[in-house]
Structure formats: structure tokens, C-alpha cells
């Protein structure tokens, strides 16, 4: 009852913000003028976000600790977000959805309502600085109004999210197993318990790499003990993957962001059989989906292709073979791309999958290195698979 009440009040706040935006769009806010002004400022490149963050940190030193040591990637994120906001300033619905996501996403970084004011002031100072003589009172009013809108949508979404879940979960590593030279499997206990859909991911922050978050998929469906399994591949130079595959990771307390992602089974099931294609640790979300299928009354037939560079990289084949022996509806085909003496399938995953016949009547779920996923999607599409039968996630496994 109380939750419904809060929800509706927040919905009203968001609707009010959108209405105000519509009013402004009709009258005060000049989108063309904003875009011209932004283009002028953006000419200064990396200097702009550099100035913005320095200004922010000088005026509010306490905000600095919310950011990583290196700000290079952060500056890119800021500019990307600003570009998106300015270019979509006249598409209210798209922009609102983007900003709501941004507001929810920032909860795990420790952003609170007061920060929005500080950020707005520094944003304005940055625009003034780089606009030079082109800065006018009208522009100041436009930007002020635009930022107020951005801030109100983001904070409203964050406040609504606050009623539903914590900003982040504490995740204790209860087991760490090195499966291959560069692949570790972690078992993590989240507190409080986390509910999610099989195939979803969370952003993970390791205490030894503060303020660096990387997405990893849960490799199991929610289970009675609430534990989450993650498959971590060590990426050369990858700060977070290096910390997470370290042998000292056991008992460490990680931070987990909220579950996100749409690489999930349609509900109810489509009735079609499933094709799962996993490259390396892209196996994780698909294994969670396998868990889910195993619990269904009449499971569809599932064919899982699991590929790696060499046999060492097939780090979870034992457990997959066990599952296949247990479940008659499951077929597992391992494939290796860089070793021709491997006893099973050899060649790239797109080749191996295509060789195995016609998949056009299946629902396909793919995860793994971006190139492999894109190539396989292209092959499946050209072999007649409809776009709504192909499911992929566009982040996570290739990120360092």
C-alpha cells in the first residue's frame, strides 16, 4: 500500500518534469540555440570535461572520492552523455528514458541529490569559460533550465529506484577456483539477497580497484542459497579482471550493482527450440539460461555450442557434459579454433555453428567476444533467422 503511494507520487514528479519540459520546449527553451552553443564549446575537445571535473573538485573536494584515480574514461563518458542529451533535446520520450536510466545507474556510484546541484554549477561554469564572449544571459537561462530538467528527471528516477532496491549489494567471495590459465570462477554471496533474471548481469567493483565497475553475468539461475557464480577471464592489462582473477580474491567484499540486461528468455516460452552460442566466458549468461530451462516442466530442445581458442579455454566443459548426461533435451558441442588436433569440432564458432545445419526455426542466444557474436548473428540472419529470434547483449565480456 505505502509502496504504491510512493510510486505514484514519484510518477507524478516525473510526469511533472516532462510537462515542464514540454512547456519550456514550447516557449523558453531554444533547442537550436543550445546546440549551437554546445557545438562551440565542444570544439575545445578534452579540455572541456577536464575543466568541468577540475572545477567540480575544487569547489567540492568531497566529490572527488566518487571517481576513479584515472579520469580519462570518465571524461569520455561525460562528453558522450552530453552529446546524447543535446542531440536528443527535442525527443522528449527517448531522452527521458535515457536520463532515468542514467539516474538509476548513478546510485551505485554514490551520487545523491545534493551532488546534482554541484554538477549543475560546474557545468554552467564550464560552458561560460569556453563560450567566452559568445555567452549571453539568454544562453545562461537556457542551460540553467535544461540542466534543471536533466537533474529533476535523474533524481526522480533515482528516488523511485530507491523504493525498490539498494544502490549496490555487498558481495562476499565465498569461493575462487582457477579453471584455466586465464579464467577464474567466483562464487559470491550477495547481501541482501538479489533477485534477477537468468542471463542478466551486474556491474562489479573490486576493493583493490576503487570506482572501476565492469559488467559480468551471473552464470546460474537464482538458487536457494542465493549465491551467484561469475566467470572471469583475465584480460591483458584489464584492471578489474586482473583484480578479480587474483589468487587473493577469496573472502574479499565486492560491490555489485543492480542486475541489468535483456539477454533473457521470453516469458512465456516461445515454443521454439533453443540455440545457445557461447565464446569463452560468454558462457556465463547462457549457463544461467540452461539452469532456467532445466526447471521448466516441458523443456525445449537446447543445443549449446561452447567455443574457445584451445582446449584449455573450455574451462567449464566438465560441468556442461554432466548436465548433458542428466538432461536428454540438452546437446553440448565444444569447439576449438586454434588447435587442429582437438578431438572435437575445430574452427571458428560461426563456422562450426553454420556447419551444423539450419537453425532458422530456433531462438538464438549468443554471448562472447564481440567479433564472434556479430559474425554469428550475420550468418544466422542471412540463413533466414528473424531478428526477433536473435538475442544478444552489447556489453560486458569484451570490456577490460
Amino acid at each position: 500500500m505505502s509502496r504504491r503511494a510512493t510510486c505514484s507520487s514519484i510518477c507524478r514528479a516525473i510526469a511533472g518534469a516532462i510537462q515542464r519540459q514540454r512547456r519550456r520546449k514550447a516557449g523558453l527553451l531554444d533547442v537550436v540555440r543550445l546546440r549551437e552553443s554546445f557545438a562551440r564549446v565542444a570544439m575545445h575537445g578534452d579540455e572541456v570535461p577536464l575543466f568541468f571535473y577540475s572545477d567540480l573538485f575544487i569547489k567540492h573536494p568531497e566529490v572527488r572520492e566518487l571517481f576513479p584515480v584515472s579520469m580519462a574514461a570518465q571524461r569520455g563518458h561525460l562528453v558522450d552523455a552530453l552529446v546524447k542529451i543535446v542531440s536528443q533535446a527535442d525527443k522528449v520520450d527517448d531522452l527521458t528514458a535515457f536520463l532515468q536510466g542514467l539516474g538509476r545507474d548513478h546510485r551505485k556510484f554514490g551520487a545523491v541529490a545534493e551532488h546534482y546541484e554541484a554538477v549543475g554549477a560546474s557545468l554552467l561554469a564550464t560552458l561560460v569559460h569556453f563560450s567566452g564572449p559568445a555567452w549571453t544571459p539568454e544562453l545562461a537561462a537556457d542551460w540553467q533550465a535544461a540542466y534543471e530538467l536533466i537533474g529533476s528527471v535523474m533524481t526522480a528516477a533515482a528516488a523511485a529506484d530507491e523504493q525498490l532496491r539498494p544502490p549496490w549489494w555487498r558481495g562476499t567471495v565465498v569461493a575462487h577456483e582457477q579453471r584455466a590459465f586465464d579464467v577464474s570462477v567466483l562464487l559470491v554471496r550477495p547481501e541482501p539477497r538479489m533477485s534477477y533474471l537468468p542471463g542478466q548481469s551486474v556491474a562489479i567493483e573490486s576493493p583493490s580497484r576503487p570506482r572501476l565497475w565492469r559488467y559480468y553475468s551471473m552464470a546460474n539461475a537464482p538458487r536457494p542459497d542465493g549465491l551467484l557464480e561469475f566467470h572471469i577471464r583475465l584480460i591483458d592489462g584489464g584492471a578489474v579482471s586482473m583484480a578479480l582473477t587474483s589468487s587473493t580474491i577469496a573472502d574479499t567484499e565486492l560491490r555489485l550493482g543492480p542486475p541489468v540486461g535483456a539477454l533473457t528468455l521470453s516469458e512465456p516460452l516461445s515454443g521454439r527450440d533453443l540455440l545457445l552460442v557461447a565464446g569463452s566466458t560468454g558462457l556465463a549468461p547462457l549457463k544461467a539460461i540452461l539452469d532456467q530451462v532445466a526447471a521448466v516442466q516441458q523443456p525445449p530442445k537446447v543445443h549449446l555450442f561452447f567455443g574457445a581458442r584451445n582446449a584449455d579455454g573450455l574451462y567449464d566443459l566438465d560441468s556442461l557434459d554432466k548436465m548433458a548426461a542428466q538432461h536428454p533435451w540438452l546437446t553440448v558441442t565444444p569447439a576449438v579454433s586454434a588447435n587442429s588436433t582437438f578431438a572435437g569440432e575445430t574452427g571458428s564458432l560461426p563456422d562450426v555453428v553454420t556447419r551444423h545445419g539450419d537453425w532458422s526455426g530456433h531462438d538464438a542466444y549468443l554471448a562472447g567476444p564481440t567479433e564472434m557474436v556479430q559474425e554469428t548473428v550475420a550468418r544466422l540472419a542471412s540463413a533466414g533467422m528473424a531478428p526477433d529470434q536473435i538475442h544478444i547483449e552489447d556489453f560486458g565480456w569484451s570490456e577490460p
Binding site: 575544487i58 583475465l234 591483458d236
Partner: protein, 229 residues
């Protein structure tokens, strides 16, 4: 240059200059009359001279500061915001922003360098490991083939001839070598793992220290800020 200017300004005003103090002479008092001791007078004049030089210079630099501020007020009035320019707070803030930006870019470069370095180290370790594994594999393949051939030979000769007295020792030696080479691969793998982990630990330690010093620097900044208030 500065001094010459100020003295010229002084001359114009018909004022006493430090030079005049150095060159001033007084007529001697007539014999038998009381007079000041000449050296004492000279010493005092030197003191006055020093003080006068200081005052002239101070005055000149204050005059220049007045000129500078006057110009800034004029320039600020043209910009429509004389106050900000007069007090220079905006300038100081921009200056601080620049300093912090430079420091941030330096930090970014350190992190990027460390990441590139760790990337290179892990990549090399990976290649070395692949190479060692491949070598060990080939070694054991050859050995296995050799053992198979010997076994076949032994089987044939066992059927045809009584076994020569040395066969047992030879077989034992071959088995020992086989066992040795099997462990060879394992041992190298363990060494390589330890080496890689050592390197990773070093990098972790390094990054941790840098993060700590960065936080300390940030804290130092915050402290200064609160004192300034």
C-alpha cells in the same frame, strides 16, 4: 631600470635623494668650537641612506601596483564586471582549475602507463606459457612414441629371443625419463604461474599505493580549503 625611473621622479619633485646623502659635506667648525664627531655623523648618514633607499623602492612598487589595478578596473569596466576583475578571485580559480587539470592528466598518464605495462607483461607471460606448454607437449609426444616403439620391439623380441640382460634397466631408465618429462611440464607451469602472480601482485601494490597517495593529496587539499575559510 626601476630605480633610475623612481629617482628621476624624485628629482622632478626636488626631493632629497639617497645620492645626496652620500655626497653631502658640511663645513668644519672653527678651531676651539664644539662640533660633532665626523665619523659618527657619516655613520648615521649611511643608516639614513639605507632607509631612504628602501622607502623609495617600496613607494615605487606601490605606485606600479596602483597603476596595474587602475588598468584592471578600466578593463573590467569594459567587460561589465569590474568587481570580479578587481579582486582577481576568478583568475585565481581558473588558475587552480588549470593546476588540478594538469595534475589529473599526469595521473591519467601514470595509470595508462601502468596498464600498458601490465598488459605487456601478461601478454608476454601468456606467450611464454604457450611456448613452454607446446614444447612440453612435443617432448612428451616424442617420448611416448619412442616408448611405444620400444614396447613393440620388446614384444617382438620376447616372442623370438630370450630377453637380453640389460632390457630391464633400459626400460626403467626410459620410464624414469618419461616420468621426469611429464613432471617437467607441470613444474614449468607452476613456475610460470608463480612468476605471473608475482608480477600482478607488484602492480596491485603499486596501484594501491598510488591510490592512497592520491587520496592523501585530495585530503590535503580539503584541509587547506577548510583552513582558508
Amino acid at each position: 631600470m626601476e630605480r633610475a625611473l623612481t629617482i628621476a621622479w624624485y628629482d622632478e619633485q626636488n626631493r632629497l635623494t639617497p645620492e645626496e646623502l652620500q655626497t653631502v659635506t658640511f663645513p668644519l667648525s672653527r678651531l676651539g668650537r664644539r662640533g660633532y664627531e665626523e665619523e659618527r655623523v657619516r655613520g648615521f648618514l649611511r643608516l639614513v641612506h639605507g632607509e631612504l633607499v628602501r622607502l623609495v623602492n617600496e613607494r615605487a612598487s606601490l605606485w606600479q601596483e596602483v597603476q596595474r589595478l587602475r588598468q584592471r578596473i578600466l578593463a573590467g569596466a569594459a567587460d561589465g564586471d569590474p568587481q570580479a576583475v578587481l579582486f582577481g578571485e576568478a583568475d585565481a580559480h581558473i588558475h587552480a582549475v588549470r593546476i588540478l587539470s594538469t595534475a589529473q592528466v599526469t595521473a591519467d598518464r601514470y595509470v595508462a602507463d601502468a596498464q600498458a605495462y601490465s598488459s605487456r607483461v601478461t601478454e608476454e607471460a601468456r606467450l611464454r606459457r604457450d611456448h613452454i606448454m607446446q614444447e612440453a607437449q612435443q617432448h612428451s609426444d616424442i617420448l611416448l612414441e619412442d616408448a611405444h616403439a620400444r614396447a613393440r620391439e620388446a614384444a617382438v623380441s620376447a616372442l623370438t629371443l630370450p630377453p637380453p640382460p640389460q632390457t630391464d634397466r633400459e626400460r626403467q631408465a626410459a620410464q624414469a625419463e618419461l616420468a621426469y618429462l611429464r613432471t617437467y611440464g607441470d613444474v614449468y607451469r607452476a613456475h610460470l604461474r608463480a612468476y605471473t602472480e608475482g608480477v600482478l601482485r607488484g602492480i596491485e601494490e603499486w596501484e594501491r599505493k598510488e591510490a592512497v597517495s592520491f587520496q592523501e593529496a585530495a585530503r590535503g587539499h580539503a584541509d587547506q580549503r577548510s583552513i582558508g575559510r
